[in-house]
């Protein structure tokens, strides 16, 4: 594409374009009002210490949950929708007010 634009002496952005990359739409974590916080004492995979449950990882529409021990949430991009907390069968995730 760059070659074509050079050839045509053209603006690279004749139409809007974006490359798929983390943060292409900005740090969407700052949209959040409520923050999901995991209580590892209740989290099923942590207690069993083996891959199990991971429903929060499965249901997260943003892909910001990492399935591990413990489970981690990328707060830079978590929008705070609360689906993980709703789906957690062990009620290990609570939605708490953002301090800021």
């Amino acid at each position: 594409m760059e070659e074509t634009n050079k050839l045509l002496d053209r603006d690279e952005n004749i139409c809007a374009m974006s490359k798929p990359a983390p943060g292409e739409a900005g740090r969407t974590g700052d949209w959040r009002d409520l923050k999901p916080v995991i209580d590892d004492r209740k989290c099923v995979p942590v207690i069993r210490n083996k891959p199990s449950c991971f429903l929060c990882w499965l249901y997260c529409p943003e892909g910001v949950v990492s399935a591990g021990f413990p489970i981690k949430i990328d707060y830079d991009y978590c929008k705070g929708c609360g689906i993980c907390a709703e789906e957690c069968p062990a009620k290990a995730i609570s939605m708490v007010e953002e301090d800021k």
Partner: protein, 401 residues
């Protein structure tokens, strides 16, 4: 060089698309456009034209197919009329915003309710603000030539072009057309180089959501916001003014036919009274000009070929010596006046051309407008102007209420 063939406007349009070697055609039948795409489907079926003919369930899908195909680098064609054009309205905006050099014929037809299949220009005029270049044809020769112009213009400025011509008056009327030789068209029209490529190794999201402000992308490069993209679209439209003229000039040199770039003139050299009109009604008006000239009236005509971009400077130059102006057009901006009259007045604002201007809305829903009626209207207007009636609201020609 080439011989004239007798053909309809729709045959001329289909033949032009074939000569331009379109690669993807998607269209839905609607009167009076249908025979354009019927003819093209015959070309594809018989192997005369190597193109993909995509049958769709609606005009909205027809233009969507064209948008997708143009995005990956195909030369595309579609044509429609009236309700079909309005049904694709959302994608009409999209095609321009995506900066795709699509060429679409609009075979002008009135819009319901009440139903009409007959000609006026309300359909395309109502699409004025979609970001498409709009070129209007006066006869079948101009249809075949303008479609060839249109591809060359579109792929230089990355804007879609609507080639508009009057339903039935041109679409179904046979007249002599000189068919440009295919090898000359190939020389005139270079292949289309797209501004985006689909490449699975280097994926892009094309036309994602843009924010009101400019902001850096994931690589840290500051990118345009929505408003910058809109500015560029309008700048391309401004650039198109010159491109349309240059393209017409180059075509005239190679093919020997000059249609005027943005406007065309008839008997304008020593004229004091000017008719301004658009499409086939302008052609009809040239006969009225002949009649009035024989009566000793110093009258000429300026035909508007490009409605978008609007030829403000060219009209000012052509009308510099006008002592009065009469506009004929087949559309109405409800609650105001004819769109052409309205645009023309705006273009003259601030110039030294401060003259009486009469405008006529004519031929809506296919009501016949012939040269003698235009001549009578002109005589009427000249009498009124002499009596000091300088800027009345639009007259409705042949409307008996």
């Amino acid at each position: 060089m080439s011989e004239a063939v007798i053909m309809t406007g729709n045959s001329a349009a289909a033949l032009a698309a074939k000569l331009c070697r379109v690669q993807v055609i998607a269209a839905y039948p609607i009167t009076p456009q249908t025979s354009v795409t019927e003819t093209l489907s015959n070309y594809v079926e018989s192997g005369e034209l190597k193109a993909e003919y995509v049958r769709v369930e609606s005009e909205h899908s027809a233009l969507t197919v064209c948008i997708s195909a143009a995005t990956v680098g195909a030369r595309v064609f579609t044509s429609t009329s009236s309700h079909g054009l309005l049904y694709m309205h959302e994608q009409v905006h999209w095609a321009a915003g995506a900066r795709l050099p699509i060429v679409m014929c609009c075979v002008n037809r009135g819009v319901g309710a009440p139903w009409t299949i007959f000609n006026d220009q309300q359909d395309s005029i109502s699409q004025r603000d979609t970001g498409w270049i709009q070129l209007y044809c006066r006869d079948n020769q101009e249809i075949i030539d303008t479609i060839i112009h249109a591809y060359k213009i579109a792929q230089q400025v990355y804007l879609p072009v609507m080639v508009c011509y009057d339903g039935f008056v041109l679409s179904h009327t046979m007249m002599p057309v000189v068919v440009p030789p295919a090898e000359l068209v190939d020389e005139f029209l270079p292949p289309y180089v797209p501004h985006t490529f689909l490449d699975s190794d280097n994926p892009y999201n094309i036309n994602p959501v843009l924010f009101p402000w400019r902001r850096p992308d994931a690589q840290g490069v500051l990118r345009d916001g929505y408003m910058e993209m809109r500015y560029k679209l309008n700048a391309a439209m401004d650039e198109a003014r010159g491109v349309i003229q240059v393209t017409n000039g180059e075509f005239a040199q190679r093919f020997g036919r000059d249609h005027g770039g943005l406007i065309w003139e008839y008997e304008s050299a020593a004229a004091e009274i000017f008719v301004v009109a658009i499409g086939s009604i302008a052609n009809e008006a040239t006969i009225a000009i002949d009649t009035l000239r024989r009566e000793g009236v110093k009258i000429g005509l300026v035909g508007v070929r490009s409605f978008r971009p609007f030829p403000k400077q060219e009209l000012r130059a052509a009308l510099a010596k006008a002592k009065s102006i009469v506009v004929f057009e087949k559309a109405i901006s409800y609650g105001h006046e004819g769109a052409l009259a309205c645009e023309l007045k705006a273009a003259l604002y601030g110039s030294n051309i401060r003259v009486p201007l009469h405008s006529y809305v004519a031929g809506l829903g296919g009501r016949d407008v012939n040269a003698s009626e235009l001549a009578a209207a002109l005589r009427d207007s000249l009498e009124q102007i002499a009596a000091g009636i300088c800027e009345p609201p639009s007259y409705w020609l042949n409307c008996r209420v």
